[in-house]
Symmetry: C2
Subunit: 72 residues, 2 copies
Amino acid sequence: MDIKTKVGARLRDVRLAKKLTQEKVSFDSDIDKSYISEVENGRRNISIVNLEKLTLTLGISLKDFFNTTDFS
Amino acid sequence: MDIKTKVGARLRDVRLAKKLTQEKVSFDSDIDKSYISEVENGRRNISIVNLEKLTLTLGISLKDFFNTTDFS
DNA sequence: TAAAAAATTCACTTAAAGTCTAATAGACTA
DNA sequence: TAGTCTATTAGACTTTAAGTGAATTTTTTA
C-alpha cells in the first residue's frame, strides 16, 4: 500500500471514529470537500500544511495520527 | 513554530544524528540538494510522498519521525 | 588564511495541488 | 418513490509545490 493510500485510509478511520462527515470536516478545515474525498481514497499527494489542518480538525495530533503499524 | 519549520528542524536533527550531509541525502533520495536545504529551513511545504522518501533515506519510519513532543 | 566541503539563496519552469461548480450515485427513511 | 444525506467524480480553473541550475555564503579543515 502506498503512502497516499495509507494516509487516506487513516484519515477516513479517524473521521468515522468521530462520526464526522466529509462535509463537516471540509467546513471546519476550510479544505474543499471533493479534495477530501480524493485524499481519503489515496488519489492525492497531500502537503504537510493541509495534513496538519485535517488532523487539527479531526482532533488528533500528528504524533498520534502516525502512531500506527501502517507507518512503522 | 509552524509545521513546516517543525518538520524541517526534525529532518535536520535526524540527518545530523546520522552524520549525513544534505548532498548525501540528496543523492540517496533523488531529491535536489537545494530543495532539501529549503525544506530543512522551513521554507517549503513538503508533500507526504517527498517526506516519506526523505524519512526512508534517513532510516526512520514516519511513526518514529513524528513521535516527538513537537508533534503532540 | 586559503582551499575545500557543505549549505543557502534565488530565479525560473512545469507538474500537480487545491478550488469551484455541478452532476451522479448509493443508502436510508418517511 | 420521492426526499434527504453523504460521498464520488468530472472538468475547468487558479495557485503552489516540485524540481533544477548556478551563484553565493558559511563552515570546516589542511
